[in-house]
Amino acid sequence: MATVQVSEAEKVYILHGIRDDLRVDGRGCEDYRHMEIETDVVSNTDGSAKVTLGDTAVLVGVKADIGKPRPKVPNEGYVEFFVDCSANATPEFEGRGGEELGTELSNTLYKVFNNKHSVDLKSLCISAGEHCWVLYVDVLLLQCDGNLYDAISVAIKAALFNTKIPRVHISADEEGGKEIELSDDPYDCVRLNVENVPCIVTLCKVGHRHVVDATLQEKACSVASLIISVTHKGTITCTRKVGGGSLDPESIFEMTEAGKRVGKALHAPLMKLLQQEESLGKARQKVGFLG
């Protein structure tokens, strides 16, 4: 991840601040920065969302394609993730510099969504064993200022909410095989149920306390972080520890509880905002990338 250099005295200042629950920008240890979410920003995708969390900006596009289901689960579709760290974010990502971070992010996303409930894969089936919908979720990092996992998960949830999959009709053609017809009407589409899509919360251990939504300076002062993906009911789908430092078992338990609490609180305002945006319909003023 992009790193900043911090001096020893600055580290001490940040550490003491977090100990007193007053971070450098005045937030408490469990407060998020200002978040802005907009969906339907990329016109040639089936669903898209752009999330700005402080100075971190993430763009997610979802495309639905017809493919062959996996042999072990013939009546389910599947989701493919790809994370691209663009050189726009920081010069370190130039060329192949962002590949390592990109693969780490996509592997974590696979783990997070690797369960029966996050996305209803059965609804993506067209005809068992032969055709199914494959959702290609592409994440593009535009700006990097810490806390990538959280921003990416919120953007994925918003993009999946915005995804419109065209309705299909299966008919038999002359040779007895199946022919798939996509509906011509652009408004005749299926929406996904994103109730159970989890949101990721990253908790960084700084000193003896943990912080949510760490900036790059705070990240430079922490030795280890815990990444937890939480659904709206408070169920954890994936836990991961990153960083070279060690975590005490008690602090892991404490951080998990805090992560569950914070993660659970993310879903309700997000769904409310997405529904509010949807209800604005054509009256919504699209902001996009300039402005």
Partner: protein
Amino acid sequence: MAADMRLPTIQKPVSLTFSAFDRKDLVVPGDVITSDTGFMRGHGTYVDEEKLTASVAGEVQRVDKLICVKPLKTRFNGEVGDVVVGRITEVQQKRWKVETNSRLDSVLLLSSVNLPGGELRRRSAEDELTMREYLQEGDLISAEVQSVFSDGALSLHTRSLKYGKLGQGVLVQLSPSLIKRQKTHFHNLTCGASMILGNNGFVWLYPTPEQLEEEAGGFYTSLEPVSVSDREVISRLRNCLLALAAHKVLLFDTSVLYCYESSVHHQVKDILKPEVMEEIVMLTQQKLLDQEG
């Protein structure tokens, strides 16, 4: 504790005077400034088919026969005498490389720093070997520009007691064109914190030291915890600086202080919300206009 999520809105620039469209002296790269050949061209311009054209985006400044364009967002172009706040990036033989938001890393020679204890002696080989004990990679310093090398790199010095290694505090990185040139860049603000407005856009906020540490010479940093009230003042100042920078208001001690006063009835973490930023900046600009007029 809940996250503040909202839909994005188009940001309108807050301007109490006239809007940017009315100003005739703002140019973008490629704009023709004048076709008159009698002018000398300064920085930010070039001659294209006998027409003086701008090469950067900014405002046109004219001094008699010299026309130059002062860009809004640029790397720091240092002059002799500028006060800068920089971060050590490398420790080399007899000098340190300092990052100051310019095109090239600035240079701080070993002979340009004050040795601890204030001794005045020739630097020995031992001094060279213990350079890292004075300043390491990642340390922040305040320094003054001594000279400019031919390639544009700045040579810094910390030969006064007010310059040197910086201790606990917060660094805010902004654009150099937002910092106003003043007689002094070290301010002890009345709200309870101190500020160094580096000409290179780096602003350092730190708790006001109780007594002047004359003998330290700037190399002793106190690692005592800073009190919560001081911390709050510094966080509020930091957010105010970011709010002013987002609306492109010129930064100097008075504007920062007015912004601080306008933000007092908001919570520190709310200052970075767009509508609160707009309100605070409008109040600050109003106060500045009232003070001028």
